[in-house]
């Protein structure tokens, strides 16, 4: 071992054990979060609150998966909602037409999503920036039009009606509200943990490098196209999971799930919470849903209120809430040390 290699080994070792430490910390946080969420029904019988958490799970999975693309890889997808819709529709259709157990439908939907995302992604990720955004938007609208026009299969503009059957499996009965709630929380936490692992893995750092300097990443021997395609498919899988939670919650699937506004909402959630931290989109999800619920209760003109709030974030803070807090905290610590 040369002196140089020995030096490198010395610096690498603590980094690796540090990464392991971080991983245990993440798992611990996830377990605590799940315990807190899952014990919520013991303290409150408010159906509205539990419903709110279920909706947060669906949107949170979806928005965080978009952050893998926007925040970590710099791929601004305007059509990410297509996978949310695809997940909801595939799951609903499989359950309605085939009557298989829920886990089977779940896995099958993920497989379908992976396949579709691989095909669409292979076409899209070659394009850069605004063109990538446009072509993903076009694919989303293509899927939306297909759902609308293939009425005999998808129910057209009425959506998938008649309810999605929810047979019990392994003692879990998703027709039961509490069971559904705990299952949604579990999916949310598992999904977030998995995405966190992806983001903190060497692959996650490769994505950051591609975002910051794709040409340099390519010089270093990274297959940029393949890395982008991989994260595109991975993000699609989690968006599809979000769609499935939504389909289970509303017991149906509607064309709006695949409409481009759902992608717009996810982008908005990301901006609201902030894209530079992992949990930013989750904070954004809670903020947007809270905002939507309270504003619609008080005024019928919720567009004006929501618009003004967005303007406050875009022109006032100029960043997401968690970004703002993180920077404020870092700044405070810096000046504190300087003193």
């Amino acid at each position: 071992m040369t002196e140089l290699e020995a030096g490198r080994a010395r610096t690498l070792a603590p980094v690796q054990s540090g990464a392991a430490l971080h991983r245990y910390r993440d798992v611990l946080i996830a377990l605590i979060a799940f315990a807190v969420l899952a014990s919520l029904p013991l303290f409150t019988s408010s159906k509205a609150l539990l419903d709110f958490v279920i909706r947060c799970s669906a949107y949170g999975l979806f928005a965080t998966s978009l952050n893998l693309l926007v925040g970590y890889t710099g791929l601004t997808s305007f059509g990410h909602g297509m996978f949310f819709g695809l997940g909801a529709y595939s799951f609903g259709l499989i359950m309605q037409k085939l009557g298989v157990p829920i886990p089977v439908a779940f896995i099958a939907t993920l497989a379908i999503t992976a396949l579709v995302a691989a095909v669409i992604g292979a076409i899209c990720v070659r394009l850069k920036e605004i063109y990538f955004a446009f072509v993903t938007l076009a694919f989303q609208m293509l899927i939306h039009s297909t759902i609308l026009s293939w009425a005999s299969f998808t129910g057209g503009d009425q959506g998938l009606r008649g309810g999605i059957p929810r047979p019990a499996f392994l003692g879990i009965n998703l027709a039961n509200h509490i069971h559904l709630y705990v299952a949604s929380c579990a999916l949310l936490i598992l999904g977030l943990l998995a995405m966190r692992q992806i983001a903190q893995s060497p692959f996650g750092y490769t994505l950051r490098m591609i975002r910051d300097n794709a040409a340099r990443a390519s010089f270093l021997g990274i297959d940029v196209w393949r890395a982008k395609l991989t994260v595109f498919v991975l993000a699609a899988l989690f968006a599809s999971m979000g769609g499935m939670v939504m389909a289970l919650f509303v017991s149906g699937a509607y064309p709006e799930f695949a409409y481009w506004t759902i992608s717009g909402e996810a982008i908005f959630i990301n901006m609201l919470g902030g894209v530079s931290t992992f949990l930013g989109p989750m904070v954004g999800t809670v903020l947007l849903l809270l905002l939507n619920d309270t504003v619609t209760r008080f005024t019928e003109y919720h567009g004006i209120v929501l618009g003004i709030v967005i303007l406050f974030f875009a022109l006032g803070l100029r960043k997401g809430l968690l970004d703002f807090v993180a920077e404020w905290y870092a700044h405070r610590r810096e000046t504190g040390e300087g003193r």
């Binding site: 076009a138 609308l148 303007l311 875009a314």
Partner: protein, 300 residues
Amino acid sequence: MDLDALAGCLSSSACLVTQTTSGLIIGMLLFLVAVGLTLIFGVLKVVNFSHGAFYMFGAYFAMTAYQLTGSFALAMLAGAAGTAILGLIFERVFMSRVYGADVLMQLLVCYAFVLIFDDVVRVIWGPEFKAMGMPSAFQVMPLFIAGGVVPPYYLLLIGVALVVAIVLGIGLSRSRIGKVIRAAAHNPGMVSALGINTGLIYGGVFALGGMLAGLAGALAAPVRSLTPGMGFSVLIESFIVTVIGGMGSILGALIGALLLGLIRSFGSLGFPLFTEGLMYLFMVIVLVSKPTGLFGKEVA
């Protein structure tokens, strides 16, 4: 799918003329909206996501002016001038703050205004569908061209859009202002160093873009129903137009808009339920084969 209807129409001259004119007016209205979008992008490098709102305001301004004065010309003027002023204020007060910021930030500001403007229209004019009605000057016998029916108002619409296309094309390439605008698009720092107020140019271009969308809305008011949110589908379609034609290209916007108009009018015969899907399919094909659009230049 109804391919027989499409084949039947293609073999009848009457149907061919009717469908082509309806395709042309869809295309020309789209062109007026899209050319503003493409101009704003070309000069300001901003994707104006709230452009559809200007189309909507143009239509509502025109309707109100027509109801107050009864003059069609004044209605058109109100639609165009009102949205031009709106565009100027919007650009100077809000958009100018997010130049150079993240694209998502610009988008967010526009998205906020889409929400606000739609509700403002709902507050002022009410949420229900409105109709301006065809001005009496155009309530005459339609023309018959090769057996096809062509209302005279359609001819006016196509004519106005063509005049706008020619004036814009010549104005930008020949006139002094046009040259300054193109220079500002290319190198704003140098232009302002030469003593030209680029802020004024940016505001002016935005006002011009807003005015064209407003004019399109005003022209569409007699033939379409007015509703809050009407700008939305137009916005999406004019996006497709600019993407197909190439962002920043006026000729591209014209060709793209006409292609899309024809796809819509003939597609509605052959694929009545999948007409929208056809447009997106077309957009995907163009983007994949030539990402910068048919007439777009490679952006460095």
